[in-house]
């Protein structure tokens, strides 16, 4: 590896001229040094992130239950996969995930972008408000789940109380009814993540060159035209990245639902990540859960590849 580095580097035209003689010196550590620098981090990521992905793939071919040693687990070939594709619970969980993703991301993008366009102008005290807006993002997901479980509680929850006082609506068992529980987790997610879209979009809007906006105004663009023909197209890559990041988060989400509903009632709020967790540690089917995990990896990898292609901050174009 080191030799390859030396040969690669000495033929590197972009290396500073003065380095050329140094690069040939046998004691030159500058060519091997990068590998020493990245090695520890790469090792931790290989063992902690990459190995588990391949281990999931391996385990997915076994019928392994919690409590029995892995050496006793049977290799069942593709049985887990065949079972997965014909398992209505898996499909329901995927459907719930997509439905959840559709509602949360649509509403968060709409609210976040609208609010950002409304409130982008610099104004006195803006930094205090921005500090407050990131609070929902900083609170631990477990605590977010607990707070909203309390607010949606059928007996002591504040939401039932105010719906009754203001609108005369009978108390609802929010987290015990499939549709209402789904609404509750969507609502919670919107509370927590709309600020993220808002902050990102406002940063993008404020980074737009003022000349372009000035020019479009001189050309006679009205307020709507400025938004839809100038501003939004100019921040479109930001919007796409924000959308993809939220989409990936939907497939990673687990903790808030685990606390609020545990995935229930039935499987009404069981997103794919939570489904894997429940299959593994509630139903105790580690091998089968691994097969579903492989499916999740495939989905997330495809989405991540999208982000990489659209906006890789480490791509060479930005290497100036």
């Amino acid at each position: 590896m080191a030799n390859a580095a030396i040969s690669a580097n000495s033929s590197e035209p972009s290396a500073p001229d003065g380095d050329r003689s140094v690069a040939k010196a046998p004691r030159d550590y500058r060519n091997i040094a990068p590998y020493f620098f990245i090695a520890p981090a790469v090792f931790v990521m290989l063992v902690g992130l990459v190995y588990p992905v391949f281990d999931s793939l391996y385990l997915s071919f076994f019928d392994w239950k919690i409590g029995e040693p892995f050496s006793k687990a049977d290799n069942v070939g593709f049985t887990n996969y065949l079972r997965m594709f014909s398992d209505p619970d898996v499909w329901e969980s995927i459907w719930v995930t997509f439905r959840f993703g559709f509602w949360t991301i649509t509403l968060e993008m709409f609210l976040g972008v609208t609010l950002a366009l409304m409130l982008e102008k610099p104004i006195r005290g803006a930094s205090i408000f921005r500090t407050i807006f990131i609070l929902p993002l900083m609170v631990s997901p477990v605590v977010v789940g607990l707070i909203w479980r309390y607010l949606f509680d059928a007996r002591v929850g504040w939401i039932n109380y105010y719906l009754g006082i203001w609108f005369g609506i009978e108390p609802q068992v929010w987290l015990g009814d499939a549709e209402l529980a789904f609404f509750a987790i969507v609502f919670t997610d919107i509370w927590q993540w709309t600020p993220f879209i808002f902050i990102i979009v406002i940063a993008g809007l404020q980074a737009l060159p003022s000349e372009v906006l000035e020019a479009s105004r001189i050309d006679g663009a009205n307020w709507w035209q400025q938004i839809f023909l100038v501003k939004l197209p100019m921040i479109s890559s930001i919007l796409v990245i924000a959308l993809l990041m939220r989409l990936i988060d939907v497939f990673r989400a687990l903790e808030v639902m685990y606390i609020m509903t545990g995935g229930g009632p039935g499987r009404a709020t069981e997103l794919l990540s939570l489904h894997i967790y429940n299959r593994a540690f509630d139903a105790q089917l580690l091998g089968y859960a691994s097969a579903i995990a492989v499916l999740l990896i495939v989905i997330v990898t495809v989405l991540s590849a999208g982000i990489l292609i659209i906006g890789n901050p480490m791509k060479d174009k930005s290497d100036v």
Partner: protein
Amino acid sequence: MSERIAARSLNNPWRVAGHYFFLVLLALICLTPIWVMISTSLKDQITIFDGKPIWFFFVPTIENYQDVMGAGKFDKYLWNSIIVATVSTFLTLLLGGLCAYSLARAEFKGRRFVANATLLVRMVPPAVLAVPAFSMVLAFNLRSDLMVLIFFYTALNLPFAIWLLFGFYKQIPVELEEAAIVDGASPLQVFFKVLLPLMKSGYAVAGIFTFRIAWNEFVLALLLTGRNTRTLPVAVSGYLTDTGVEWGRIMAMGTLIVIPPLLFTFFAARQIIAGMTAGAVKG
């Protein structure tokens, strides 16, 4: 909006008032649930189970905090959380910083591959780690060892930290390092003496994000800890029982868990926003 229009519209007191009205409304929406938690943590059982929301005018009590902090192993769980979060943050910054520096500065074979792979593994869902981590822990008999959590949190946080620090290193002119090398400094000296002082804010941002993830993480902590190695998020979930949910205690513990992230928010909001937008806006 052009500056002239902006200036004109901001002279209109109605528009300014409308602007502030929306900002205050949004701020209230963000703050209300957090205030519900804090206020509930200060109420006694009877007030909570009365079911009538009282926003401000109740007789505050600290009995929930006394119950929670006095219960069995609270000190131990708090200590576990602090150790896990600080040690994994330290490791992430150390290893991630070296890696990001290398990726930003050196030309070497495989650089692009490592950079892209780092971004890709950033997306690995924690649920995917659950079963393999559980099986690793079984295989090596490491259950109830805090080192396991520290290791996995470091792994989970490294990609984002590397990504963020990479951007910060890119902003530092190469000439500074070249001058140091000409003066005979070794790579490690260049790293620690020249770059590190300039990287303070970058490391602050990466540190806050890393600490927050490690402090808040729940799924792996639930799986990989035992009676003595629980962290606070796992401990608080234990108060959710089928027989009865003790909201006062839950909210007291929730409030305690939220203290460090809230402090970060108030003292480093600008850096946090920089970290959040770095991915989308600069990319």
